[in-house]
């Protein structure tokens, strides 16, 4: 850093090094081929320049072998890049099972985070080092994009659905968080930081943070307030499916399709219940769109997920 300004970003996540390795491979390929072309063009331009002794060109016949070579060799190289990138991309897209789950809500022009134990942050996200973190994200208005250069992670945050991203921080420190999808007047200001702490310090930070209530507790209260338990109740099995243990299971729908009851499914079931009705039930659930905020949605979902801890002896 003797220049006084950086030329290359820090590596602060477990995948950063892998992304950079692929990047440097591509840089090397590019330098090689660009260099080759530059040198050849310059060399030919000079060696074969028009001059008194060289007024006409020497005819050079076409050469299919050469054409094949410079078709197939580049093809092979880009295939290497494709496969290498694809494998890394699949890793980037699959959060590990034991990840710390953070709920993210983006809106013009701020980031809201909620830790699983209820702590909330605005424009700052504290995470422990060495633990995968999974972000479940939604937007309240336009498309935003969650981007932490040091982690090499980016994912758009879209209104109307959840998107997910994950990372595992490998260095303590503070790292830029940018919104990377143009979202209006203060797009440039929709920035923040991710603070990576040692596990003990993270837990200490959590304790020191005022928590109103964990999200699943709020969710349970909402579940009653919004009247969900009028139908989703053991006394009325014919009206609505049981929700104990529903998260993560396979659901058979009236259309014959089978889906997994993940966050996106739960969200859709609250906002747009007629779209994916469980087999054996009538489409009588009203839509809660406009009646719950993004935060309340994630609290309800947290509550429903927490129900998997309760043992159930009934068949679904």
């Amino acid at each position: 850093m003797s220049l006084g300004f950086p030329l290359f970003p820090e590596q602060a996540s477990t995948v950063a090094g892998r992304v950079d390795a692929l990047y440097f491979f591509l840089v090397a390929i590019s330098v090689f081929f660009a260099g080759l072309i530059f040198i050849l063009v310059a060399y030919f331009a000079i060696k074969y320049r028009r001059r008194p002794g060289r007024k006409q060109a020497d005819p050079v016949p076409d050469h299919v072998g050469l054409e094949l070579a410079w078709t197939l060799i580049p093809l092979g190289i880009v295939m290497v890049s494709f496969i290498w990138g694809a494998r890394l991309f699949v890793t980037l897209s699959r959060p590990p099972a034991d990840a710390l789950e953070i709920a993210v809500v983006a809106r013009q022009w701020m980031w809201k985070f909620q830790h699983p134990t209820g702590q909330r942050e605005i424009n700052e996200l504290h995470v422990p080092i060495g633990r995968p973190v999974k972000l479940t994200m939604a937007s309240e208005d336009v498309i935003h994009s969650f981007f932490v250069p040091a982690f090499r992670v980016k994912m758009d945050v879209v209104p109307g659905r959840y998107t997910t991203a994950w990372f595992e921080a490998s260095r303590t420190g503070e790292y830029h968080l940018f919104c990377a999808e143009y979202c209006g007047a203060q797009h440039s200001g929709m920035t923040g930081r991710v603070v990576v702490l040692e596990l003990a310090q993270y837990q200490q930070w959590l304790r020191g943070r005022i928590v109103a209530e964990p999200p699943e507790v709020v969710g349970e209260r909402l579940f009653a307030q919004l009247g969900c338990n009028a139908c989703h109740h053991p006394d009325r099995p014919q009206l609505a499916p049981f929700l104990e243990g529903v998260y993560g299971t396979q659901r058979l729908l009236v259309t014959g399709e089978t889906v997994i009851a993940d966050e996106a499914y739960l969200r859709q079931s609250i906002l747009d219940p007629a779209a994916a009705v469980t087999a054996g039930y009538a489409p009588i659930m009203p839509s809660y769109r406009g009646r719950v905020t993004e935060e309340e949605l994630s609290q309800l979902i947290a509550y429903i997920k927490s129900l998997e801890k309760i043992q159930t002896t009934r068949s679904p």
């Binding site: 259309t255 747009d272 219940p273 007629a274 779209a275 489409p283 009203p286 839509s287 769109r289």
Partner: protein, 214 residues
């Protein structure tokens, strides 16, 4: 037959080349129209598969009888158009004018029925963004159905209006003796356009009106 009028344009070597070029030009233009409507159809298809129940229910609000009548009107207009093209080929000017006018008439009838349908939608408050009151659990997605309904039939109607305009101009030119059995392909190419607009409707009708009634 027009004597002494040169229809050969200076950039062409002969009338055959001119005819082939004009024909290819119209076909390429129709391909662009396929891409244009194709985008709309693709969007519709995406939402139809996402919200099949909502679309089926919303589709019930369209009047199948009226739509079927309109379909018949358009198919008939394609017949009169084809007859017009034939009349042009054999240089029967009077028949040509009659068939062109009939086609215009039928096209106008189609548009009139469309106006009636649109007015009906306004009356029943099924116009997204303007007045939309839809009962039932699928109200939200029904907005999308009706958005596509107005966008697709509106675009189609716009193409019909342009087609009728072109037919009107053609009729005037025919009356002035512009065409003959040697030079009649503007009529033929207009016929191509007209048939294309007809075909778009033949796709629109089942997609919009017959959905959910199968």
């Amino acid at each position: 037959m027009a004597e002494g009028t040169t229809v050969l344009e200076h950039q062409f070597d002969d009338l055959d080349q001119q005819r082939e070029a004009s024909s290819l030009g119209m076909w390429v233009f129709l391909i662009t129209e396929i891409m244009f409507f194709g985008g709309l159809f693709a969007g519709y298809a995406v939402y139809r598969s996402t919200y099949p129940d909502a679309f089926a229910e919303a589709g019930l609000h369209l009047n199948v009888l009226v739509g079927a009548v309109n379909t018949a009107v358009l198919i008939l207009s394609s017949l009169t158009m084809a007859l017009a093209v034939h009349a042009a080929q054999v240089d029967r000017r009077k028949a040509l004018v009659v068939f062109l006018l009939l086609t215009i008439l039928l096209g106008t009838v189609f548009l009139g029925i469309k106006v009636f349908e649109y007015a009906d939608k306004f009356r029943h408050e099924l116009v997204p963004g303007y007045a939309f009151a839809f009962e039932g659990p699928h109200a939200r997605e029904a907005t999308i159905f009706f958005s596509f309904y107005f966008a697709m039939t509106g675009m189609h109607a716009l193409h019909m209006i342009i087609g009728i305009g072109i037919l009107a101009v053609l009729t005037v030119l025919v009356r002035r003796g512009r065409f003959s059995s040697e030079y009649y392909w503007p009529v033929e190419l207009t016929g191509l356009y007209w048939h294309f607009v007809d075909i778009v409707w033949i796709y629109l009708f089942p997609l919009l009106y017959l959905i959910g009634r199968a």
